[in-house]
Amino acid sequence: MTVALERPSVEVTSRAQRRRGLWGWWESPWRQPVFLQLLTFGYLAWSLLPVLVAILFSFNAGKSRTVWQGFSFRWYWGDPVRSVWHDGSLHTALVHTLVLGVVTTAITVPLGVAFALGVDRWHGRLPSGANFAMLLSFVIPETLLAVALLFLVTQVTTPLHLGTTAQVVGLTTFQLSYPVVIVRARLITIGKQYEEAAIDLGASPTGSIRRVLLPMLMPAIFVSAVLVFADVVDDFVIVRYLSSDASTEPVSVKIYNTARAAPTPALNALATLVLLASLLAVTLGFVFFKWLSRGEKSDSGVQDFASGL
């Protein structure tokens, strides 16, 4: 017993002796994490600066994407032929991207929320198998799913045709897991007591869902809608294989087709506009999420918002 009591004091003196010099600085538990700090902010610069440069050159007055020739909105609407506003193909790509984003979100979120509620409460082989398939669709390499859907649409007689319909269907399949996973995580934290209370107080089963559960799920549903929209707008693999012609090629495909073929800064402008739409959705989503989940204790709203990922 005495030995055990003595041991820490020996340890403390030896550590106090060691605490000098470079080694002492390295081992000190109170020092600033210098290397980690450097690495983190270095990483942030590396990850964001190239994109900022690309955005900057979308405002270039000249045709170059590498030499700065002054600030202008030429590639947004100034140029009468090749700006995003006047070039029909760029215009179409932008509109198509946004249409795919809105339509897919409108289908995926209700489908996913209903699926999450059903699978969470209905116990059995079929629902757990379906949940398993849903998780597989979440992690399958996107190219594989895209090729499989392409084969389904082109080689088998179905009501689907290449173009917007097939793209929306494919994107919905790939994105379905977002609302399901987020809503199920939220269902676990909510628990069942509120619903039971509602039923004990005389609510019908549908009423308890509509008037108690759905309002409580609203923040989660909302986050998943924002995530799905932002992800669909950025999607490339599925939309490319399931597009029919140039009129159903969204911005990402446009970038892929022309990035190596000496494009003008109009391409940067196009990409910037999609980025803006995506950021706008996320910012609005974050503000609205904070408002929806007001009154709930939380250290960091961003963290809760991000936990959906």
């Binding site: 700090q37 590498t66 699978v119 629902p127 190219t143 090729v147």
Partner: protein
């Protein structure tokens, strides 16, 4: 067991309830309301089935069926005149001509698919390890030391999620062009975009690192810093604490995040296309992409899809299992 006696709660319940116990029966139900409530529960079950079935039908017809269609085409027939694939739905009638063709060109004497597969493995492994070396310290710093800056830092770390992959690659195409900023700053004249393997690998790292940081952050944020303090108090040095406590506690997150970045990389063809456009750096994704869009090679593309599916099945199952253990998929 006495008939009609619930062994757990020790109070008498109706036989209907023993065959299907209501999971949330109130402690002392009013006798008259019982039948009504059970009827509600039965109806509720229908409600759950009703809610789940559209999603189940969707996944069955638009996820599982398409996957099966790939098999029917790879092992199916080819129209002798039009050279178009004819899907064969019955597995008994499947033939392996297409698959044998692909296999002999991987392992056979004229195996020109083999190098691409090997290259994919090397690229994906190298890029994943490099991703981990970047992502782990960043996630660790954010989880442990960010303090009040955490919100902003997280927002900046998530930002690449909202920037399309294509735009991020476009940004690097701009920078790495012959007259691009990289050559100007370094005063060099290098053709960076001319089939350089390290450019492709770095492009993959740049593209997929964000997907690794978040799961790692979630895993590192979960365990209490008290554990680390305890390790230091008990005499462990900085590195020993990291090796024996931090690393071990974050192992599930490391595995999940590596799987999450490896899987999409296996099907990636666009990074190699944009940053090199040379067959000398093509990956299995490029083989899929080239054959799928070439008439007459559809079955060959499908065979590559099946090979990638076979390789990624185990990581996929591992990830799904780890996600189910945590109750959340990310």
């Amino acid at each position: 067991m006495a008939p009609g006696l619930d062994p757990v709660q020790g109070r008498s319940v109706s036989t209907v309830a023993t065959t299907e116990p209501p999971p949330t029966a109130p402690v002392s139900p009013p006798p008259a309301g019982r039948a009504v409530r059970l009827a509600h529960w039965a109806r509720r079950n229908w409600l759950w089935i009703l809610l789940a079935s559209p999603g189940i039908l969707w996944l069955a017809s638009l996820f599982l069926v398409p996957m099966y269609v790939v098999f029917t085409i790879v092992f199916g027939q080819i129209d002798p005149i039009f050279r178009t694939p004819l899907p064969v739905w019955n597995p008994i009638e499947w033939n392996t001509v297409e698959f044998n063709y692909v296999f002999t060109h991987i392992f056979g004497s004229d195996g020109y698919f083999g190098p691409a597969l090997l290259r994919t493995a090397v690229y994906v492994l190298t890029a994943s390890v490099m991703c981990l070396f970047v992502a782990y310290p960043v996630a660790y710093y954010t989880a442990r030391y960010a303090g009040r800056r955490r919100g902003w830092l997280l927002a900046a770390l998530i930002a690449p999620f909202w920037i399309s992959y294509m735009m991020r690659m476009l940004a690097w195409v701009n920078l790495l062009q012959n007259d691009g900023l990289v050559n100007k700053v370094l005063h060099t004249n290098v053709d960076w975009l001319d089939g350089k393997p390290y450019v492709v690998v770095l492009g993959l790292v740049y593209g997929y690192v964000p997907y690794m940081i978040l799961p790692l952050y979630a895993g590192l944020d979960r365990f209490s810093p008290n554990v680390l303090e305890a390790a230091r108090d008990l005499g462990a040095g900085r590195l020993e604490t990291f090796r024996r406590v931090t690393l071990r506690l974050s192992m599930p997150a490391i595995i999940a995040s590596v799987l999450l970045t490896c899987l999409p990389m296996l099907g990636d063809y666009y990074t190699a296309d944009l940053l090199s456009a040379s067959p000398s750096t093509s990956m299995v994704g490029n083989l899929i992409n080239n054959s799928v869009l070439t008439p007459g090679q559809t079955g060959q593309g499908g065979a590559f899809v099946l090979i990638v599916l076979a390789v990624s099945l185990i990581p996929m199952l591992l990830y799904v299992r780890s996600a189910r253990d945590e109750g959340v998929a990310s």
